[in-house]
């Protein structure tokens, strides 16, 4: 039947506009990378790369979780607090072997995540309010557990110490784990039912329900993933610093959201890629690194710039989203 000729998209060999839109994060990363290379002598050194890579991996885990949550149309502000609780718990159980000191904090993180999920689904509380409350409550727990003091991990098992500080083939272990996590996330998002259902729910929740997807369960699992990954980041942070701190992870929710959104995930849900989040995380890492190397700039400037970048990206997103929408209708 030729009445409906639906192949409306002209196929170009290389659609540079689409590329710019789709890979904006990658391009930004490359530009920043080149800039830093020419500007700072210490930047293009193995030592610095190792540092930056390790630095960003912990944020990276949180950002992967955040990407899932934002994809599904939610937000999770409690990640930093979860990270703190997991970190101090990891410090407390660190003498009992690496398995225990990962599994217990991660289970706690999952419990927090499930709580968030239940608040959002069963109790129908708007995600940012629900997670704002749990952010507060979980931070309180971190303080209560520690008496507001940092918890030393001096008698930690050797494996636990390696987790945050070790290298394999010269690459920091956290970075290897982060890259593995990104690969896993990409696979999950592209190749599994669960992953596709996340996109479906974020794209059109009502329709997903109609199609028989168990929307509540999917959301709860997503918040649990975010809790688990934040907790894991907390474990690594404790291993690296040799102590669990109840104030750890403050403000990380912002950086994680920033990395996700800079990576091209739509803040409204349903559209986004985990490779984008990888670039987003690297971009925030390079910016921090540049601030450190600049030296004469106050650390507060970093927050100002981070805020400005996030705001800029969100505004830009809202503009392009509108353009493509009106183009369709």
């Amino acid at each position: 039947m030729n009445i409906v000729n639906a192949v409306t998209n002209k196929i170009k060999l290389f659609d540079y506009k689409k590329f710019l839109k789709g890979e904006g994060a990658l391009i930004t990363f490359i530009v920043l990378f080149l800039f830093a290379t020419f500007k700072y002598d210490q930047f293009f050194t193995l030592l610095n790369f190792k540092n930056v890579l390790r630095q960003v991996s912990m944020l990276g885990f949180v950002a992967i979780g955040m990407t899932f949550v934002i994809l599904i149309g939610g937000i999770d502000l409690s990640v930093g607090s979860t990270l703190a609780v997991a970190g101090v718990v990891a410090a407390k159980v660190s003498p009992y072997g690496i398995g225990v000191s990962i599994i217990i904090p991660v289970l706690i993180g999952i419990a927090f995540g499930v709580t968030n999920g239940i608040l959002v689904t069963k109790l129908k509380i708007v995600p940012f309010i629900a997670t704002l409350a749990t952010m507060l409550g979980i931070r309180g727990i971190a303080y209560i557990v520690t008496g507001e003091l940092s918890v030393g991990a001096s008698s930690a098992s050797p494996g636990f110490i390696q987790l945050g500080r070790g290298y394999v083939a010269g690459i920091p272990i956290p970075s290897i784990l982060f890259v593995l996590a990104i690969i896993a996330a990409v696979l999950v998002s592209k190749k599994t039912k669960f992953g596709r259902h996340v996109y479906a729910v974020g794209g059109n929740e009502e329709a997903s329900k109609m199609m028989g997807l168990k929307v509540h369960n999917i959301k709860i699992v997503v918040y649990a993933i975010s809790g688990a990954l934040s907790a894991f980041a907390g474990v690594i942070l404790t291993s690296r610093l040799g102590a669990g701190q109840p104030v750890a992870g403050e403000g990380w929710e912002l950086t994680a959201i920033a990395a996700t959104v800079i990576g091209g995930t739509l803040i409204t849900g349903g559209v986004g890629k985990f490779t984008g989040t990888l670039y987003g995380v690297l971009i925030t890492g390079i910016i921090q690194n540049m601030f450190n190397m600049q030296g004469n700039l106050n650390v507060w400037w970093q927050n100002i710039l981070m805020g400005a970048i996030l705001l800029g990206v969100v505004v830009a997103q809202s503009q392009t989203a509108r353009v493509s929408k009106s183009g369709n209708s």
Binding site: I125, V126, A133, G140, Y143, L254, N298, N303, I304, V314
Partner: protein
């Protein structure tokens, strides 16, 4: 199966009446309960000094929560209020050299500018307010910290400290009057002025509001300006009370207390009728929790958990709107 459905539907109706009643008076009942329990169990709670203390300490939360009431009623949220407090605090303290009045005006002005900027971004680009105010929260505090290199700024300026420490007749703190005046004004704006109707209409149905001729752009900007200015004012009073400005500490987590108070007070979180009286009750509840925890020698951190639970319970109780 069918009969069950029928039966339960009857029950639901009775249930609802009961719930409606509870919903309506939940906040005052909770407040009375809290006061009663504390009067009995907390040593020194039922005491005039404690009362003045509660009132002095709740000023900052009340001012920000009143602004937040309008913001939430319009369907928005503003989590940058704590940072606005910080910037107005540090700006006012820094510029005391120009005289008290210019300094205060400058502090209020900078707060208003923050609010206008936030409102403009939200109204112009139609981005969810949480996403706009989140970077603003971080950025504005960053600026506040940069201004004095993140150092504590002490000052000795009695004329300014008056704003936070004066007591009428030796016992009634000036804060009480400030709270009464601001509460009455916001109540008036929300309930008697057309502006209040516009705020509610936009929170309830934005599209229809626009088609009814409401200047949604200007109203949005005004709402966030009012909210930020009130937050800034709160910051100034707090700075005056302490005779010091600390950009790191002042207003931290204030947005949470304010949102909690509004939620407990019964303004619908998705927008709708601003419940100013409810917010005042909500602030009292939040403040009494903080004070009671403190007076019972329970570490402050427990109040964080308690507040989280109160927010969630309040929202859960009102989820069937």
């Amino acid at each position: 199966m069918k009969t069950i459905t029928k039966k339960s539907s009857v029950n639901v109706n009775q249930d609802r009446d009961w719930k409606l009643l509870l919903n309506k008076y939940a906040t005052p009942i909770l407040l009375v309960l809290l006061i009663a329990v504390n009067a009995i169990f907390t040593p020194n709670f039922a005491n005039v000094n404690t009362m003045w203390n509660i009132l002095i300490q709740m000023t900052t939360i009340l001012l920000t929560a009143l602004g937040m009431t309008l913001v939430i009623a319009s369907g928005g949220i503003d989590i940058s209020v704590g940072s606005v407090m910080a910037i107005s605090s540090i700006v006012t303290a820094k510029s005391l050299g120009f005289g008290v009045v210019p300094a205060v005006i400058l502090g209020l002005l900078i707060s208003a500018v923050c609010g206008v900027f936030i409102g403009f971004i939200i109204a112009r680009f139609k981005i969810q307010p949480i996403i706009v105010t989140l970077p603003m929260m971080i950025g504005i505090r960053g600026i506040a910290q940069v201004i004095n290199d993140s150092q504590l700024l002490n000052f000795n300026e009695p004329a300014f400290s008056f704003l936070g420490t004066y007591k009428f007749g030796g016992s009634v703190p000036i804060q009480v009057f400030i709270m009464i005046i601001v509460s009455a004004s916001v109540y008036f704006i929300a309930n008697k002025m057309s502006f209040g109707r516009y705020v509610q209409a936009m929170g309830d149905n934005y599209k229809a509001s626009r088609l009814t001729g409401i200047n949604t752009f200007m109203v949005t900007i005004s709402i966030y300006m009012i909210s930020a200015t009130l937050a800034g004012f709160a910051g100034i009073i707090e700075t005056a009370r302490l005779s010091a400005a600390d950009a790191n500490a002042i207003g931290k987590l204030m947005e949470l207390d304010a949102i909690a108070a509004v939620a407990v007070g019964g303004t619908p979180m998705n927008g709708g009728r601003p419940n100013v009286i409810g917010t005042i009750f909500g602030v009292l509840i939040i403040q009494i929790i903080t004070v009671a925890v403190n007076m019972n020698n329970i570490p402050y951190t427990y109040s964080l958990v308690l507040k989280a639970i109160v927010i969630i319970l309040a929202l859960w109780a009102r989820r069937d709107k």
